[in-house]
């Protein structure tokens, strides 16, 4: 039974990580119009406890996308320089939507695995019941 409980833990940790990823995507989209905003990139890493990996994952410390910011021409903007340009964000909506969709698919897959483990352990107990 503890193996099945372990897969509960692993899929719950993965769902948690995907939830954090979708939060970062939301932040990126919310800040798409913020001048000078660099999009946050989510990466994942294994959870290491006592020098061992047990299959659980978590999000690694967030990194910022170093690609150049978009130059927006608006001389009336308070942040505009002498040539009339100011730096916008480097958020690309299509990339963010794709990332969000990927997070959703991964979340669904982990949810399915959670349910699978639950059904397996229930089936095992069903044997004792008759």
């Amino acid at each position: 039974m503890s193996e099945l409980f372990k897969s509960f833990q692993i899929s719950a940790s993965a769902m948690q990580a995907q939830a954090q990823r979708i939060r970062h995507v939301t932040e990126n989209i919310a800040n798409a119009d913020t001048p000078g905003y660099r999009r946050k990139v989510t990466s994942f890493e294994n959870v290491v406890s006592q020098g061992m990996t047990e299959g659980m994952i978590r999000t690694a410390p967030v990194t910022l996308d170093r690609s150049p910011l978009t130059q927006i021409y608006d001389p009336s903007h308070p942040l505009a320089d002498d040539s009339g340009y100011y730096e916008g964000s480097n958020v690309n909506s299509i990339v963010e939507i794709a990332d969000a969709r990927e997070a959703q698919r991964s979340y669904e897959a982990n949810l399915k695995m959670f349910d699978q483990a639950r059904q397996m352990s229930k089936g095992l107990l069903e044997l004792l019941r008759r």
Binding site: F5, F8, M15, R118, S121
Partner: protein, 95 residues
């Protein structure tokens, strides 16, 4: 005749220890281990639910703890039913 009854009495006395209830340590130890594990799961579930209600735990942890608790309770109930059923089977034995 008298000798026979003495022998019979001796035989009965010799058989008596076999019917005396004895506590086998193995079974009860295993059951105790199962019980403590069950209690731990239950406690863990309660704490996580409490943390979830106050916004300190996320939904995934809440669901995980609840699913684990549900399975632990189901396991305990199923095993209890099985044990009670076994006792009833013994009680139904024609003596």
């Amino acid at each position: 005749m008298d000798v026979k009854s003495t022998i019979a009495a001796q035989n009965y006395a010799a058989i008596r220890p076999a019917t005396a209830p004895s506590v086998s340590p193995g079974g009860t130890e295993a059951l105790r281990g199962l019980g403590t594990e069950f209690a731990t799961f239950l406690q863990n579930g309660e704490e996580t639910v409490k943390a979830g209600m106050t916004g300190q735990a996320d939904a995934q942890a809440l669901v995980q703890a609840l699913a684990q608790t549900e399975l632990a309770v189901e396991t305990a109930v199923t095993i209890r039913n099985k044990v009670v059923e076994a006792y009833q089977e013994i009680l139904r034995m024609p003596v």
